[in-house]
Symmetry: D2
Subunit: 476 residues, 4 copies
């Protein structure tokens, strides 16, 4: 019983081998080198960006007279044909051609002949791959922004629906003070808003073109880097050719931002798992997002939330991979950098899937508002309100009020009752100045309504915050 | 022989113990809990920011009538006295008071009496620590920007000095094409420029005030969060109180940015180590940045560069720590978050020291320009120029020119000579159309001068880039 | 307002400065170099091991005649005096002497004169620090094993106490099947048992002596590496001198093991946080391990558990730090490796504290067994037992039984009752063959008792497992 | 231009959608849930182990009478047929069947009918997947040991060949003392030996069977866990059912060990990159392991070494992923754990490929022994020998000898000559006692030969070490 390789049945019989290569690399050095060196298995995802960049390059070469206009036209037409072949599934990717760049150029040669050989004038795969990958990440950031906006939109809708739905607010997973469910959901809208801000900053910063840096030093051909930059939607060409081919900051920044977003999603996922437990029972996940058990017929598991939570690990690991990979690399390009793509692709797929799953869960979840309301008052959740009342009404310093309230909580616990169930006599036995008006602040509703400071949880504040969030994040 | 604790001789004899606590925690539960719970050993570094925030809070409480103006004045005066005590070293930090907040408030109470008890009205340690720490990180970002600018300034100066100094440009650590040392150093100026951009974005994004979110839900006191935000230099109060106390994005973003900067420094450090080796011998480190050996009397080791390189690990590890720590935490505040400070402090110290050391090394290094020049032509570094000449002069497609040049390189290798040493007959035996003008592009100087495309390495381009960098990064 | 350095007031006035050093490093290159280069601030923790290794080395030098017996004796006596000074707090550590090795040797010279200069014969700081640090880690592993055993012992005691205490067993945080609390606690005993196994393997593997590898190549002095290895409790000298000074596997293995242990502790900590919530209410933390709130007088927060959970991040980050630091280092010793100590010391302290806190919490926690029992039957927790009954009694294939049970669960849910509350008619409407004997397996107690397969949760099995665990982990 | 999904053309038209799902998840909740939940795309690699475990389980069910022998036989035969179908490529994996377990069982049902429904009696996917995955990792460890042994074997052969080949020994990448290439290569043999030890320990520790733990609590069927454990080559069943289904220590330990191995490979890879540079020029990589440039016709890049170096990042990231994923998970099984497989598969593939590539490079590399020899004496590499001579011959304390030698090095540098080129007069001007015998130790050969302490670099020692390594690591 041996482990199966990921490439079972990969085809042609291997050449004679050198003896030391075990079963896995039976075909000897050449096969191993091709296997470790070729990137076409993953960088084919860059095809559209590679071809777009080649078209911009060829148009510039023709415009500046480095190649003839005829050759330029032939190249453009040929590249369009290659795109079509790829998108129709008619293109044969070859590992022996190493990467997407050579696969495309080779096919171009078959289609248009000699002119294809002029396309690589005044460029190198070093600036080419940096350009392609920046374009890809730029698109990924655009998609991410949309996906984040979708989730924000759903959260805001649900928050509006539950602007006044009471629930316990937790610190240390202990009931702390009552809040509303809408207020709670809006906290995630804020987090995702910062995620969008980071994505936007990353997009701006990466938007300079490496194209024309050539291998590392620039070129002696009279190229026009501003023209290609403009054609590809870059704000400008990068200022230093060595930096252009050796920079992977945009990868690291993308992955860092993704990791922070992954943390946000893991927190919401954790809460969904908690809320779906029998012990909390705050939320019910629709069938579409629940799974069963192969042995326990009664189970409804919040698998999607658990998987989103776990995927924080996938993202953080990917960031870690690229950080380790870049550490201590001398300038300029090193082959190490080829390992940047798999983690980025994995993270982009992970984020798209996680955000879609989270959007679906948040949209579909139903809440047991009675249960949440009942819990909102548990654990002496209005104790702070009592302390604040002492400050406001009796002019006690807060520290003293805090101590008095602590004593009242202790008394209530001894009598196994809620604070609001203590008699006025009991209250006065601890603090003689207390009057019956105190009971007004001990009701959860009143406590909630009173927290109307800016950003607070009072339902009216939450309603305002919902409207404001819609304006800040969704309109325009 | 047992390992020494970090706190040998920590003082007073422990109370009687429960038996299960080994030598290390002889004093039983209370001591263990205090040890794990107290943060004063590290969060004392927040003292100035904690007191500034308390002053802003107290002024607001007085202005809004929540406390009397007299109490407000007493608190302000008392806090000023506490700052002075701390800065003079007269303040006794007490672990039993847990954290900087309680240490300061407790001392304030000793100094001004009852009024001190009114300071904590309408706030919680949850919003307080978030505010303090944001202020601290904001200052750290300001310091970082200065330190980065200093290193950029030195790099730009050295680049200007060596705008025309030839050296090999490397890819895969193989000689690729000649570049200038100035061009190489400017690549790092670009990287650090992006680091400053990220720091600036981070600063803008974090600059919203948590103060007034109280424990998690806001407060019923009629506070003015805009007033405290303004007083502390924040752009606005944070919009959601739950988010305000549970958000540590600013920590993660600071650490992410630091990790990317750490990568940049590790790359430059690696190059310094290489350049100082006997085999490269491009650079000589001044005595102030070299160390000797306890056994080998002849050694001059580039220890500072190695340590800067290693410290990328310290920073990446710190980022990892906080990511793991935040993963899956339900809202709002959890005590887990207390572990955010040690990594941030460690990273801020590490960056300050690494940048200072790197600035010193770059400023002090001397270069063996003859050696670098000699190497610049090695490894057929002008082969690309030959290929480009074939394209330009003989109108060969680049792919064909690449193959012809490859054949010429092979021929030169067989004759163990440089490309420029091949006879014209030899040249023509491979490509009949070659003329003697080809020798012009085979000289390193000419190759260098020809790469004058935007961002290229031609000395005139580098001189322009130096001037431009000064304008972009140092002026104003 | 500027951030305070960790070293305010570090003393002597700085030398004249070069201008570029900002406030922080006002004293110029020398100060920066000393700051980044010196390790005495942290490696002083190695003092006992450094001196033990020096004594073994000196004894060997004397025995082999490389130094005189008189010098050997003087050195031994002098080193004993140095230990005493350090342990009494009379030793002045000097940053300008860089590290613990030079601090000790320098003081030895003051105490015994010229003979001290002979101690460093046939060794280098490279093999010295590797030896010292291995000895330290070896002791740390010993301490760790004790701390793990203590926590196991407490867990086993509590498991014995609660061998029959019913609680819900969870998968996906959903009630799955009833288990006993004792069974649950014993799962952690298994995990910690593997942790001890890893620690023991690590100890065995590291137990080869680097001493005598000298700088990297061995020495021409006729040293006896087996003698020093034996004297220091090593099993043998390391076989290759280059490996001896460049190996940090023992650090990485120690930290990896710590990370896995950190995961275990984080899982138990998470459960404690859950169990202490009002919604679960399974456990009550003693006052000694709870904290209050500065604003909410009623709070009892499980801070210690949260901190233990967070510290998984500290450990994983430390592992990450050293992995990044070691990546790509050429042989043999590089100064980068000096950064290995701070993470290891931090992790050792973290583990000691976390294990002590966890031991205290587990020992002190009280459980609400009624509440746990009530929950044990919730969520149709005996549905699997029903399916199994169908298999056993009616000879249904399990897959069919699973479907039938699923239908019965659905029916019970529609009637908002438990499975055991369904009438026989209801049962038979789904599966006609069902008889009244089915009710026997629907009781939680019966379900529990029936799971007496090896390693199962039946109380009798758990009692046996407790006895077995005591034998495997605590005896001898 | 949009980014292409990894699954273009995945087939059937999607059902009507809910509107919020952007282009990527056009088919609505069901499709998203299936996409995030299904694991068949990756866990199909477990097929052989899944089926082996099912066969063992069925045999046990029949033996204990839980199912009939006929059913047991039918299941065994059917499973054999399924294996055959998979290995012939005739098996259709279906995403809607979620995972390998259900895919196999479903096909089994098609092949053998009702009996298939009895296979899942007394087990759950929770214990099933833990069993399968342990078996897979156990095999991966076996393969890893072979791959490591292969690389050790090649290193030992090359070390034997170069037992006396002089080269500089480096610390801080500075020439420190001469060593032999064989000695250097053997350092890696030691590292890999420890890697094999860790793999072996991991294998022993993981070798307990989860099978029979069922969902989490054991089962009421009279199963024989020892029988299935034995049949699958496990040493014993795991002792606690909750631990059995929630434990992923074996994954973390495997990945930790892989990370340490990845560090070793990255160090050797770094050295290969250095040695292949023009500046070092110690080694020449065969064509099979070099690549060219798309723009620079003369390039020979050590891509395979760079990729191996980069892959340390892949492994460390994978470890990080699973650590983050496991952090804070309550018992027992959670769906988060499904994310453990992709990282493990990626690491196993990465290690197999990296070790094969490294084996090929080390086997194929040629060394420029003249160049290495010339460098071996550079940088006053015998200065330590001079100091040692002063100690031995003139009875100087080592510290004094170190200072004297330092002065002589300075003198030689001033005269731009090697130490051995200093005249005796020059020598005596610094230390009058020096005699002409000193020149004997200044020759590289003599220095090398003298380092014959255990584990030292003297050629005779290296020859012995080669023989010893063969015995320790390759024989038997």
């Amino acid at each position: 019983m041996t482990n199966t390789s990921k490439k079972s049945g990969s085809g042609t019989p291997p050449p004679a081998t050198s003896g030391i290569w075990g079963g896995r690399f039976a075909s000897g050095p050449a096969a191993i080198m091709q296997e470790i060196n070729a990137s076409i298995d993953f960088d084919r995802r860059l095809y559209a960006h590679d071809i777009a960049a080649s078209k911009a390059h060829a148009a510039m070469l023709a415009k500046t007279g480095i190649i003839s206009q005829d050759d330029g036209d032939a190249i453009a037409k040929g590249l369009d044909a290659v795109v079509k072949e790829i998108e129709c599934g008619d293109f044969e990717f070859k590992q022996e051609l190493e990467d997407i760049h050579m696969n495309v150029e080779s096919r171009l040669g078959e289609l248009i002949g000699d002119a294809a050989g002029r396309l690589h004038t005044a460029r190198s795969r070093n600036d080419q791959v940096a350009t392609d990958f920046k374009l890809w990440v730029r698109d990924a950031l655009g998609q991410l922004d949309e996906d984040l906006k979708t989730l924000q939109s759903i959260l805001i809708d649900r928050a509006g629906e539950h602007a006044a739905t009471m629930m316990p607010g937790f610190t240390h997973l202990q009931s702390a003070q009552p809040v509303t469910l809408g207020h709670h959901l809006l906290a995630y809208v804020e987090m995702l808003g910062r995620d969008r801000g980071r994505a936007s900053d990353c997009r701006k910063r990466l938007n300079e073109s490496p194209l024309g840096a050539a291998a590392l030093a620039g070129t002696s051909f009279p190229i026009d880097r501003h023209m290609t930059a403009g054609a590809l939607g870059f704000d400008a060409p990068m200022a230093n050719s060595l930096d252009a081919v050796s920079d992977r900051d945009f990868v690291l920044e993308y992955l860092s931002n993704a990791a922070i977003l992954g943390i946000h999603l893991s927190r919401l996922a954790e809460e969904i798992v908690l809320w779906c437990s029998v012990q909390f029972a705050y939320a019910h996940m629709p069938d579409a997002y629940s799974t069963g058990s192969s042995i326990m017929p009664q189970k409804r598991n919040p698998d999607a939330a658990e998987l989103v939570r776990a995927k924080a690990g996938v993202i953080i690991g990917a960031l870690n991979t690229v950080l380790v990979m870049m550490k201590g690399l001398p300038l300029a390009y090193g082959k190490d950098m080829q390992e940047d793509k798999v983690p980025v692709f994995a993270v982009a797929d992970t984020l798209a899937l996680s955000l879609a799953a989270m959007s679906g869960m948040v949209e579909g979840m139903t809440f047991d508002v009675e249960r949440m309301k009942a819990d909102a008052g548990s654990g002496h959740a209005t104790a702070t309100d009592l302390a604040d009342w002492l400050v406001k009404t009796l002019d006690m310093p807060f520290r003293d009020a805090h101590h008095v309230t602590g004593a009242l909580v202790k008394l209530a616990d001894e009598k196994t009752m809620g604070l609001h169930q203590l008699s006025l006599d009991d209250m006065q036995s601890v603090a003689p100045g207390i009057t019956k008006e105190v009971y007004d602040v001990l009701k959860v509703e009143d406590a909630l309504n009173s927290r109307n400071s800016f950003g607070g949880t009072a339902p009216t504040s939450v309603e305002g915050a919902v409207a404001e969030a819609r304006k800040r994040f969704l309109d325009g």
